[in-house]
Symmetry: C2
Subunit: 213 residues, 2 copies
């Protein structure tokens, strides 16, 4: 096991904040980026369906377009990597068949041995639960894991719901691929000038947020 101590973990979660000013000159090193990208791919999802695609934007021209579609927030252009978390718009029996085939292949077992698993997913899908909104929720799991992972690696992040999803979809050509933007996150390193880094973190108290039963 290669774990972090509880105290060190809490320190890192206290260290993080929604970064408002990124240092444009600092880029995420390759090995760190590989771990972050791997964490996106490894994000748990309901049934393991992975109803998402992650668009990683480092191209300056595309970043500029996305900034214009994101309330002109400077984080989009000044960060190292801007991640757009996109949800599959429609989930049907093909998605289930694809996952079953992938599972059989990766585990070296037969498709037939996964019939119960497939049936469970099909039941859920045919009841209309696998909506775009449901896929978007899975993207929020990825966002949560992404921000925690960045904190643990010492990378700064700014999650973002403030953008025009139709424009972002258009800039990245997402609709044609069957996806739409759920949420975004700029990643990189805080600028020394970011005054938000020094503000007290605001949270409700344990007693207000947690109930023990």
């Amino acid at each position: 096991m290669s774990t972090l101590t509880p105290i060190d973990l809490t320190k890192q979660l206290q260290w993080r904040y929604a970064t408002k000013v990124f240092d444009q000159s600092k880029k995420i090193p390759a090995q760190t980026w590989t771990a972050i990208e791997q964490s996106l791919i490894l994000t748990p999802s309901s049934f393991g369906l992975q109803p998402w695609k992650f668009v990683v934007v480092t191209n300056d021209a595309v970043k500029a377009k996305l900034r214009a579609a994101s309330w002109n927030q400077s984080q989009v252009t000044d960060c190292s990597h801007h991640v757009v978390l996109t949800a599959k718009r429609e989930l049907n029996s093909n998605d289930i068949t694809r996952l079953i085939a992938s599972t059989a292949q990766q585990r070296g077992i037969t498709v037939e041995s996964l019939a119960a698993y497939q049936g469970m997913m099909s039941g859920f899908q045919s009841k209309g639960y696998m909506t775009t909104e449901w896929a978007a929720k899975q993207c929020y799991i990825a966002l949560g894991q992404l921000m925690a992972v960045c904190a643990v690696l010492g990378v700064d992040a700014c999650p973002m719901e403030g953008f025009d999803p139709v424009q972002v979809d258009e800039i990245l050509g997402l609709r044609a691929e069957g996806y739409s933007t759920a949420v975004c996150c700029s990643l990189g390193y805080r600028a020394a000038s970011d005054k938000y880094a020094h503000l007290a973190k605001v949270r409700y108290s344990n007693g207000e947020v947690v109930r023990h039963v």
Copy 2:
């Protein structure tokens, strides 16, 4: 900084899996639990609104009731701590006023100095964006952070969408408090008998899930 190396982080994310059989005799130690609970409280949320309450269930009788409402999944009773992530059903101007007051108090500044922040939230709220579904999405950020945090601490987790939300709300008396269940997660330690621990993790390839722009 008390970070984890990229390689160790990836190891821990590979180590985790949706635990199907928990070892009933193993409980999460107090110091570790404190860090996990703190990570729930520290979860980032849109505007910092924290539209949630986390119910931590360790009581055996309540766990048994929740198991019955959760497709009889043994994880609910056999885990150390079962966490129910609940979303605030209605978000109105009181929630905004409350956050502004808390921010002013925790940062030692005036409520008046936060007028622009308050105005931005009020605009968003009055346009009807702060729905129960939106609050539920914020709970999925907490779920993502929770699972990543557990992986990094070496604690096992089983996320769960398979439950009857109305029954869970009723068992925990959530509706009366203005909340409803978004998603659940059982936490503890895997049993040696859990064959799922040894299966290959199934994920689509980098090329299928990540696009670089």
